[in-house]
């Protein structure tokens, strides 16, 4: 973390909070914050609003967690349904999980919650459910054509243990303990219906570390995801929530793609700064195109260097990921991961590349195909996990996620 992202006042505050933390431990987190505020010379009369009390509505036309400003922590969980799961059993499972998600997201303990005290700080908790082809078949529903494993790409080195599945739960919050508790509760209620296929955790900056709506940085230090849909715009409505050719049960829903991208930091270390910037076509300083000065400047792909080469190289990631077809766009909501090193080096890091799009085949696959054919970034990154899920619409209070499928 650099100094410009963490004001020194924040550091002083943290240190004082830490010193008092021991004495206040018996009072609990809320008590500790209260003491911290009270000992500040310029303490306001009222306690500052806590991040933990913020909530995102659960019920609605669309599921939460897609047009929500990305929370700082995510757990993606894929379940495999027990052999022979029928529609009635599936409905029971979805009702239980919906109840847990609805309550926990509003800061209420789940029914039969063994740790109700962990439910009081939702910190914008959302739980987003996705259905794999196996679940749609078990329900007797119509499978959208794109709901299947992505076509094989030459860059892929996929581990089946990190991909696909019957039921996806995307659990996201600005508080990691809240994610852990929601995960525990949802898995307890899944236990007699399904087994855990994989869990993948990711993170972004913590709330308050940088200005809201700052584009995330990946573990390579790059500004990652500048070009993205804005909720409430016609693009978002058409290309994320749009009907495409999807079956009617999916109206109000969308498609989900996960690509677990291993990012080889030890190899990346050997590349100098200009090489790093050339690989993407953007500056490391603020993510501006190499032909511009601000992050959101439109790149000038025709600009040439003094000796006649393109400023933004043909092989750069930005040029390869961009399509001239405006329909070939996706909503990106990626997260970083950083896990215990394996035998390949001192780091095992990368990105949970997550995208939402109404039609995976029409929107995501062409982008991935171009990147597969040519993208300098492929030297340092490798897709090692892949999954596609259909995200059903939201539901009304009293109903459950997936009700349109039955």
């Amino acid at each position: 973390m650099t100094d410009d992202e963490q004001p020194s006042a924040g550091r002083r505050l943290s240190r004082r909070h830490l010193l008092l933390g021991g004495a206040a431990a018996g009072i609990g987190a809320v008590g500790a914050v209260g003491i911290d505020a009270a000992t500040r010379p310029d303490a306001p009369a009222l306690a500052e609003p806590l991040n933990g009390t913020q909530t995102v509505p659960f019920y609605g036309v669309h599921q939460a967690g897609i047009d929500t400003v990305p929370q700082s922590n995510v757990a993606l969980i894929a379940l495999d349904l027990a052999e022979g799961t029928d529609a009635a059993t599936l409905r029971r499972l979805l009702k239980l999980l919906t109840s847990d998600a609805a309550r926990l997201s509003q800061g209420e303990a789940a029914l039969a919650d063994s740790e109700p005290e962990l439910a009081v700080a939702p910190a914008r908790l959302t739980v987003t459910f996705g259905f794999g082809p196996g679940l749609v078949a078990a329900a007797g529903g119509i499978r959208p054509a794109w709901l299947r494993p992505l076509p094989a790409f030459s860059v892929d080195r996929l581990d089946p243990a990190l991909g696909e599945g019957d039921l996806l739960m995307k659990i996201a919050s600005d508080d990691a303990l809240t994610v852990a508790h929601a995960t525990r509760m949802l898995l307890k209620d899944s236990r007699s219906f399904a087994t855990v296929r994989w869990v993948q955790s990711g993170f972004r900056r913590a709330p308050g570390s940088v200005k809201p709506h700052t584009t995330m940085r990946n573990v390579f230090g790059q500004v990652d995801g500048t070009v993205n849909f804005v909720p409430g715009t016609p693009d978002f409505d058409r290309l994320v929530w749009g009907a495409a050719n999807n079956p009617s049960w999916l109206r109000g829903g969308t498609g989900f793609v996960l690509r677990r991208i291993s990012m080889n930091l030890d190899k990346w270390d050997k590349l100098d700064r200009s090489g790093r910037e050339a690989s993407v076509g953007r500056t490391l300083h603020n993510g501006a195109p190499l032909t511009g000065t601000n992050e959101t400047d439109e790149p000038d792909f025709d600009a040439k260097t003094a000796i006649g080469f393109p400023v933004i190289a043909e092989f750069s990631h930005m040029r390869r990921a961009r399509s001239e077809n405006p329909d070939e766009r996706i909503l990106r909501r990626g997260y970083n991961y950083d896990e215990a090193p394996n035998t390949d080096g001192v780091s095992n890091s990368g990105q949970l590349f997550i995208s939402f799009q109404a039609d995976v085949d029409a929107q995501f696959v062409p982008i991935q195909r171009r990147i597969d054919e040519l993208d300098l970034l492929n030297v340092w990154i490798t897709p090692i996990g892949s999954a596609v899920f259909a995200i059903p619409p939201g539901c009304a209070a009293g109903s459950y996620i997936g009700d349109t499928l039955f």
Binding site: L96, A112, R191
Partner: protein, 176 residues
């Protein structure tokens, strides 16, 4: 969650409630049109967050928070469920050796006027004995509470997998 109230003195209403108990329609206006303001205890009783522990056979227990909106205490004297052969109203207390044991609550549960009465694992609960069928996670079980004034209060509760609430089982077996 759905619940209904029935008034045994008004047989027509009781029969009607049986037909529509899956909806909320019977909750508000179960008294006969033109009836006086006299209300039953059941009409002042609600339950919040009811749930029941999933179990394949044998025993289980139901939980939730009973709330009384009237100015008079409500006495729950017994409980029945189509999911169990018999039911008891249980409390957990410390015995002379300091061990937490479970026993039938003498006189039943009293939900105080304008107050609540919590049924929770390790505390007061509705004990189910002799399950009539596996109570599997996600199914709804229906319960009927008989109140001291002769009225009855019905509610449904979803079954949830839950590893706790084992004191119910152990103690019941020693009590038998």
């Amino acid at each position: 969650m759905t619940f209904t109230t029935t008034t045994p003195h008004v047989l027509i209403v009781a029969a009607l409630a049986m037909f529509v108990f899956t909806g909320c329609a019977a909750t508000a206006d179960t008294t006969e049109p033109g009836a006086t303001a006299a209300t039953t205890a059941a009409e002042s009783l609600t339950i919040t967050d009811p749930w029941v522990k999933a179990a394949d056979t044998g025993m289980s227990a139901a939980f939730g928070t009973l709330e009384n909106t009237s100015d008079t205490d409500i006495n729950v004297v017994s409980a029945t469920s189509s999911s169990a052969t018999t039911m008891e109203l249980h409390e957990t207390v410390s015995d002379s050796a300091g061990v937490i044991v479970m026993q039938q609550k003498e006189g039943g549960f009293v939900v105080p006027a304008n107050g609540s009465y919590e049924l929770a694992p390790g505390a007061n609960h509705l004990m189910m004995m002799g399950l009539t069928a596996p109570l599997i996670a996600g199914v709804d079980a229906t319960f009927t509470l008989a109140l001291a004034d002769g009225s009855t209060f019905e509610f449904t509760a979803p079954a949830k997998d839950y590893s706790g609430a084992n004191e119910n089982y152990d103690d019941s077996e020693t009590n038998k």
